[in-house]
């Protein structure tokens, strides 16, 4: 009914979709960080440059786990290692 390759490809597609559920984390975390930055700028407008620069560094760090999930999804979709093992 289903060939092996079709089954593996289908499961890889589902896996790639499940992997990107990890995109929730950076969204919430970075939004929180930006909110705190806006609060601190409102409290002390002269520190705007420092606050913004530190915020960008923190946002790029928090983005990491989302990027790991993205890499897993890309590998499953475009460079699938399971097909070679069939």
């Amino acid at each position: 009914m289903l060939t092996e390759k079709a089954f593996v490809l289908g499961c890889s597609a589902i896996g790639a979709g499940l992997a990107m559920i990890a995109g929730i984390g950076p969204g919430i975390g970075e939004g929180y960080a930006v909110g705190k930055t806006i609060e601190s700028i409102a409290r002390q407008p002269e520190a705007k440059g420092d606050c913004t620069r530190t915020m960008f560094i923190g946002v790029a760090m928090a983005e990491s786990t989302g990027i790991y999930a993205f890499v897993v999804a890309l590998i499953l979709m475009f460079a699938n290692p399971f097909i070679g093992k069939l």
């Binding site: 990491s64 990027i67 790991y68 890499v71």
Partner: protein
């Protein structure tokens, strides 16, 4: 969809040792090395003690920026690390910005970022062993409790891997999204009958404006920020591996 998300193509093969394949990444790396060499020769030609030319001011700005960054993050006793950090910074920024010229970014290849991260790992291990001895290095894994040994080992391995994956994922993810966007705009052009073909070259009019705007985020912003973060993390980890206070500084006045 073929050709999206594939690795760098092989440019040519050296016939020694059974054929070493030279990929796009290495060739573009050579181009970057040559470009940096020429820029440095140009910027440092005819230096004067009081700068009057623009190029000396630019060179001094860059050196001052890197020196300031190294002193602020690592402390005064690590001032000699500025050339290494400047190399990593320039190499990473240019490796990502090359995609503005239509070439494939050098840092979109996992081998490149993994190499730099492994260099940082070797540096961290070297400084830990140098400041604590081999026994101190092994005991460091069982602090604060002995049960933390597997967790500490894991975090030691995860450090360079996460640095490598962060830069690779950001840059190559941006490249994949841009190529998907180009394909989508080509299909849209065919739909709106604005796709032309001149000899072997296809021109799709809908591809003209939108990818350039997105490339401001994916190429410029993301490339520069990831390079800066890679350099900052290298500095933080290396200086954290050897925490001992500076003995040559004058003791604080009591």
């Amino acid at each position: 969809m073929d050709g999206i998300g594939q690795g760098p193509r092989v440019a040519f093969t050296l016939p020694i040792f059974g054929g070493i394949e030279i990929t796009e990444t290495i060739v573009i790396g050579w181009l970057i090395i040559a470009a940096v060499f020429l820029i440095c020769r140009y910027l440092t030609s005819s230096l004067e003690k009081v700068p009057t030319k623009k190029r000396q001011i630019i060179a001094e700005m860059f050196v001052g920026f890197v020196n300031n960054m190294v002193e602020t993050t690592m402390g005064k006793k690590w001032k000699h690390y500025a050339p290494y950090i400047a190399t990593i910074l320039v190499y990473a920024v240019l490796g990502a910005l090359v995609s503005l010229l239509g070439l494939r970014s050098m840092t979109a290849d996992f081998n490149v970022t993994l190499t730099w991260a492994l260099m940082t790992f070797v540096l961290i291990t070297y400084y830990k062993i140098r400041s604590g001895g081999v026994l101190g290095y092994c005991k460091g894994f069982t602090s604060p409790f002995a049960v933390m040994l597997p967790l500490n080992l894991l975090s030691e391995i995860a450090t360079p891997l996460s640095m490598a994956f962060r830069m690779f994922g950001n840059i190559s993810g941006g490249a994949v999204i841009t190529s998907l966007l180009y394909s989508a705009l080509a299909a849209l052009s065919k739909l709106c009958h604005v796709a032309f073909e001149f000899g072997g070259i296809g021109v799709n009019l809908m591809q003209l404006f939108i990818p350039a705007v997105l490339s401001i985020y994916f190429d410029l912003f993301s490339g520069c920020i990831q390079a800066y973060i890679f350099a900052t993390l290298t500095m933080v980890y290396v200086s954290g591996a050897d925490d001992s206070p500076d003995e040559t500084e004058a003791p604080a006045a009591s």
